[in-house]
Amino acid sequence: MKNAITDALIITKRQLLQLARVPEVLIFSTIQPVMFVLLFRFVFGGSISTGQPGGYVQLLMPGIFVQTVAFTLAATASGLAEDMKKGLIDRFRSLPIARSALVVGRTLGDSLLNILVLVVMAAAGFAVGWRPTASVLSVFSAFVFLLLFGYALSWTGIYAGLAVKDARTVQNVSFLITFPMTFLSNAFAPTTGMPKALQYVAEWNPVSTMVAACRQLFGLENQFGATANSFPSQHPLTTSIFYMVLIMVIFVPLSVRKYKNSSN
């Protein structure tokens, strides 16, 4: 067990070393969300009327936080697919290390990367007027939930990477799923403006429940449309935790099995 943890941490360290050796990756993975913050704040912010004290940016930041952690799963998936293709997975599998080490190590590394990206984004948000009104503890717990959400999602990335085995393809596929998922939500615009049928989809979307949970923890009121009285709207945090557990329950065993049999 102790070895399993050290082994995983060595894999995590490898990921950090990669970032140190190719700092461009880190720069681009932080520039993109910061760019989103600025674009939405200044391009759309003026035309979306929110009635929110402090303006659109208060609603926007939780949305962008969730979107950003969701987008990292594409990097997880393509990184793993690349390792598969290069034969690196075979080498790891021929070593006397815990079978879980490679995948667990990678998900931990992704979480560390998420911490860094969230810090940079929070700073950018603060610079353009984002001011959470809740207690420090509540704000802090929002970030913890964001990291947990990112962690749960990175297991879907692991599975996708092991299943698809081609870095470029899996990155495109991940994007094709995460992009509509993050936009078909309450992240950037209130769902109340959507056609009724779409409101149901958007408001049950895990991205929306996560965004709503973060807004709550940052001290904001949420707006709901069609599902205003449903459980997810009333209890976004509980629903989000349920989603995270569900994702992990499905994808952790699937990924571990896929990894074990990755060459059979």
Binding site: N3, T6, D7, I10, K13, R14, L17, Q18, R21, V22, K86, G87, L88, D90, R91, F92, R93, S94, L95, P96, I97, A101, S263, N264
Partner: protein, 318 residues
């Protein structure tokens, strides 16, 4: 003692559609080099992957240093080194990063991992490029680093799957030198290759495989003699083919082969250079000047071709 044993291995892919291994058996004597020789798709990589615990066979047994690879893969992993067809190292990291990481994964501890990494870099002439990312390395350097990574714990048994595929001649020579050094150090080595020359150069024994089966095995010399002894080859002008053939057949005592496109006449001879001199003398008397004349030992190419039949007919007969 047999350090590596594979018995009756069968492995099929895609629900039995593709038979990668079809009752394959082989073994490697401790401290020797066995070369598994075969064309693409013959089952070389599948064999190595099973022995290196990466793949489970559908049936059959395999053991490394007396340990069952199917029942105790974890124990086997502590004893083996594996270097695959592609350099399986992290390309964004430096050579030093990679070796230290693998050392840590072998649970050597930090200081020991660094020491071992530096020793290996030195030994494989990579010290100068140790701090550069692997993606700046040449093909030969990558393979050397990959090999170094498989030697971190001084494995008892080393599996090298096509260690020189894709390398230029210089890279190949360098790699051969490195492998020869290793063999002197006493490691038991199983090496797969498509290059007959490579098997000839490095192996104590050769197992020729095709369609998932061992179709011949023995020393390089034994396999060559299986094909036949030396052959005399003469190339002459088109006008002289008939008289030359007569002379060669007379001296050889056997029917000669004619490659019309090359105007090459060849026949097996048993007396070696004496036969060569006899033929030269006879040709001189007949006022025939050969364009080329040579005495050839059968190459492993001939062996392989004759065993697998993947060759034009005139080359097979000997």
């Amino acid at each position: 003692m047999k350090t590596v044993i594979a018995e009756h291995l069968v492995k099929t892919y895609r629900d039995g559609e593709v038979k990668a291994l079809d009752d394959l058996s082989l073994d490697v004597e401790e401290g020797t080099v066995l070369s598994v020789l075969g064309p693409n798709g013959a089952g070389k990589t599948t064999t190595v992957r099973i022995l290196a615990t990466l793949l489970k066979p559908d049936s059959g047994n395999a053991s490394v240093a007396g340990i069952d690879v199917i029942k105790h893969p974890d124990k086997v992993r502590e004893l083996i080194g594996l270097s695959g067809q592609y350099a399986a190292v992290d390309e964004t990291l430096t050579g030093w990063d990679n070796l230290v990481m693998f050392g840590r994964l072998y649970h050597l501890g930090k200081a020991a991992s660094i020491k071992r990494a530096e020793d290996l870099l030195e030994r494989f002439s990579l010290t100068e490029s140790a701090r550069r990312p692997i993606k700046t390395y040449s093909g030969g350097m990558r393979r050397r680093l990959d090999l170094a990574a498989s030697l971190i714990v001084q494995p008892k048994v080393l599996f090298l799957d096509e260690p020189t595929t894709g390398l230029d001649p210089r890279g190949r020579q360098e790699m051969w030198g490195v492998i020869e050094e290793l063999v002197k150090g006493g490691v038991t080595l199983l090496l797969t290759t498509q290059y007959l020359e490579e098997a000839d150069q490095l192996a104590d024994e050769i197992a020729v495989i095709d369609h998932g089966k061992v179709i011949a095995r023995g020393t390089s010399d034994a396999l060559k003699s299986q094909v036949g002894g030396e052959r005399l080859e003469v190339i002459v002008d088109a006008a002289h083919i008939a008289p030359t053939t007569a002379i060669i057949e007379k001296i050889s005592g056997q029917k000669a082969n004619l490659d019309e496109a090359l105007r090459k006449i060849s026949a097996p001879v048993s007396t070696g250079s004496l036969a060569l001199m006899d033929v030269l003398r006879a040709l001189d008397e007949a006022k025939i000047h050969p364009l080329d004349i040579a005495l050839k030992r059968p190459s492993l190419d001939d062996v392989f071709m004759s065993l697998t039949g993947h060759v034009a007919e005139e080359e097979v007969k000997a």
